[in-house]
Amino acid sequence: MGTLMKYLVLAFAALAITFNPAHAAEPTGEAMAATCAACHGTHGKLGTVEYMPLAGMAETEFVRAMQDFRSGKRLSTLMGHVANGFSDNEIRAMAKYFATIK
C-alpha cells in the first residue's frame, strides 16, 4: 500500500470515528436509566423485592450483570432481551449514573 493510500485509509478511519452516528447519538446515562425505572423503580429505588434495586450498585457489578445477561451467561426472563438493546458504552453510562444514586 502506498503512503498516500495509507494516509487516506487513516483519514477515513478518523472520519468514521468522528462522525459515527451511533456514537454521536447516544442518550445520556440518566435518560437510559429512566427506561429501567418502570420496573426497577424511580432512580432504581424500589418498593418491592422482586426486581433488583439498581440505585447505588457498583459500576462493575452493573456492567458485568448487563454483559452476562446479553451473552446468556446469566439466566434471565427478559433482561437478556433488554440488555441486547444497549451498547457497551451505553451500559457503562447507565452504570455510572446508578452508582451515583444514594
Binding site: 435518560a31 418491592t48 426472563t77 432481551h81
Partner: protein, 442 residues
C-alpha cells in the same frame, strides 16, 4: 357537547377572563398537562424531578385514577375495583404538582391558553396532552356506548363496565359461552384481550367447568400470540392452529378434543359484521354466534380531547415529532401515550410512561434553550396465560430516520422456556403492577 369549532372558539377571546399568568423566566415556566393517566402523571413527576423550579399543573376530570393495566383481574376476583384506584396525593405532596380537577372545553394555541368547564383560563408555556383512547363503539353495527353500559360491556377503560362484566361472568349459566370480540390494530394493550380470555377460562374451570371462552378476531395474529397459545394449550387443552404448531417445542400435540378456549381468526371468519344487543348475537362471515356474556373490545382512536383540540390526522391519532413528541400541528403542544403516533411502540402504559420521560427531558431542555438529547424508549408488556403462567414482549426503541424503530433481536419469552421462568414471569407481572404504579404516581 361542543363541536371542534365551538371548542376552539371557547379557547379564543379569553382576554377578559382572569387568565393565570404563565410567562416567566425559564426556571418558573408553567407546564400544563391535560390528563392524569399514566402519561400525564409520569410527565408531571419527571418534569419536577428534572427541574423542581418548574410550575407543573395537571388538569384532570377525576379525583383519582382507575388503572386499566391489570384490570382484567377484577373479572376473576383476583383484584377488586378498589385495588385499581390510584391516588394523586403523592404527586401533590412529594413533588409539588398542582391539580385542577376540571374538564378542558377550550383551547387557544395562539394565546397559549386552555379553558375549563369550571370557567378557569389556564395559560401555559408548554402544554402536554395525554388524553388516552376513545372507544369507537359505533364502528360495530348494533353496538353503542349505551349497549356497552347495559348489555355488552367493553370494560377496556375500567369503571362501571368492568363491574358489569364481572357480574355477568358470575351470573352466566352453566355451560354458557363468554364471547370476546377482539379489536383491530392499533389498540391499547396488545396482549390484553387474550390475557383476559385466559383469566376467564381459568376462572371457569373452578366456577363454571362446562363454560367456554370464544375469541372472535378481525386479525390473524397478535403480539405474544405463540407464547400465549402455548400457555392456553398447556393449561386448558387449547388446540394450536397448524401454522403455529410447527414452531412449538417437541411433544406439543393437539388432543383434537373440544377446548374451553377457542380463537377464531380473520382467515377463519372471525371478523364481526354486526351484533344484536337484545339477543347477544354476533354475526361474522361464518354465521351467527349466540353469546351468554358478550364482551366487545371495539376499535380505538385517540381520546376525544385530541380531536376537539385539532391534534389528530386522518388516522385518528396525533402526528408528532418523534424526538420530543411535540405536535406536528401546534408548537409548544406535546401529545404522549396512546393518542400519539409512535410507529413501532405499542399503545401501552409502559410506552406512555417512557414517552412521558423523554418528553419531560425535551421540554426542560427547550425551556433552557438547549436542543433535546438523543431519545431511547423501552416497552415491556407482561401478560398472564394463567395466574402462575407469565409471558411478555420486551423491546428497546430508538429514533431511526425520524421514526421510532424497534431494536432487532429476541422479544418474547422463548417457546422452550422452563416452568421456572414462566412462574417467575407471572411473579414479575404481579410485582410490576406495584413498581410501575409507583414510578408513575408516587
Amino acid at each position: 357537547m361542543l363541536n371542534r369549532r365551538d371548542f376552539l372558539k371557547a379557547g379564543a377571546g379569553l382576554a377578559l377572563a382572569a387568565a393565570l399568568p404563565a410567562r416567566a423566566a425559564a426556571g418558573t415556566a408553567h407546564v400544563v398537562i391535560i390528563g392524569g393517566g399514566v402519561g400525564g402523571a409520569t410527565a408531571a413527576k419527571y418534569l419536577k424531578l428534572y427541574n423542581p423550579a418548574l410550575r407543573v399543573t395537571v388538569i384532570e376530570a377525576n379525583r383519582s385514577y382507575i388503572r386499566p393495566y391489570g384490570s382484567s383481574e377484577v373479572l376473576t376476583g383476583h383484584a377488586s375495583m378498589d385495588d385499581l384506584n390510584v391516588s394523586y396525593d403523592a404527586l401533590k405532596s412529594k413533588y409539588g404538582v398542582e391539580f385542577v380537577f376540571d374538564t378542558v372545553v377550550g383551547f387557544d394555541p395562539t394565546k397559549k391558553q386552555v379553558r375549563t368547564a369550571g370557567r378557569q383560563s389556564i395559560a401555559y408555556d408548554k402544554l402536554i396532552v395525554s388524553p388516552g383512547i376513545s372507544l369507537q363503539y359505533q364502528a360495530i353495527p348494533g353496538y353503542s356506548a349505551a349497549v356497552a353500559e347495559t348489555r355488552a360491556p367493553s370494560g377496556w377503560i375500567p369503571g362501571s363496565q368492568t363491574a358489569l362484566l364481572t357480574q355477568q361472568l358470575k351470573a352466566m349459566r352453566p355451560g354458557g359461552t363468554f364471547v370476546i370480540v377482539a379489536p383491530p390494530n392499533p389498540y391499547r394493550c396488545p396482549p390484553g384481550p387474550y390475557e383476559r380470555a385466559a383469566l376467564v377460562t381459568e376462572w371457569m374451570r373452578k366456577h363454571n367447568p362446562s363454560g367456554k371462552v370464544l375469541i372472535l378476531d378481525p386479525k390473524d395474529s397478535f403480539v405474544t400470540d405463540a407464547t400465549m397459545q402455548l400457555g392456553w394449550h398447556r393449561l386448558y387443552g387449547y388446540n394450536i392452529p397448524n401454522d403455529y404448531l410447527s414452531d412449538m417445542p417437541a411433544g406439543v400435540k393437539n388432543s383434537g378434543k373440544p377446548s374451553p378456549i377457542e380463537w377464531v381468526r380473520a382467515m377463519d371468519g372471525g371478523a364481526t359484521e354486526k351484533i344484536d344487543a337484545r339477543t347477544l348475537t354476533v354475526t361474522t362471515k361464518q354465521g351467527a354466534v349466540k353469546a351468554d356474556v358478550l364482551n366487545i373490545i371495539p376499535p380505538m382512536k385517540a381520546g376525544k380531547l385530541a380531536f376537539d383540540m385539532g391534534l389528530t390526522d386522518a388516522s385518528g391519532f396525533c402526528p408528532v415529532d418523534r424526538r420530543s413528541f411535540e405536535s406536528s400541528v401546534h408548537h409548544d403542544v406535546f401529545v404522549i401515550g396512546d393518542a400519539s403516533i409512535a410507529d413501532a411502540m405499542p399503545k401501552s402504559g409502559f410506552s406512555a410512561n417512557n414517552q412521558a420521560k423523554i418528553t419531560a427531558r425535551a421540554i426542560v431542555a427547550q425551556l433552557a434553550g438547549r436542543a433535546p438529547g438523543e431519545p431511547v424508549w423501552e416497552n415491556t408488556c407482561f401478560a398472564l396465560a394463567g395466574s402462575d403462567y407469565g409471558l411478555f414482549v420486551a423491546d428497546v426503541f430508538r429514533l431511526k430516520d425520524g421514526k421510532i424503530a424497534r431494536m432487532p433481536g429476541e422479544r418474547y419469552l422463548p417457546l422452550d422456556a422452563s416452568m421456572t421462568k414462566i412462574r417467575l414471569a407471572a411473579a414479575y407481572q404481579q410485582a410490576w403492577l406495584k413498581t410501575f404504579t409507583e414510578d408513575c404516581f408516587a
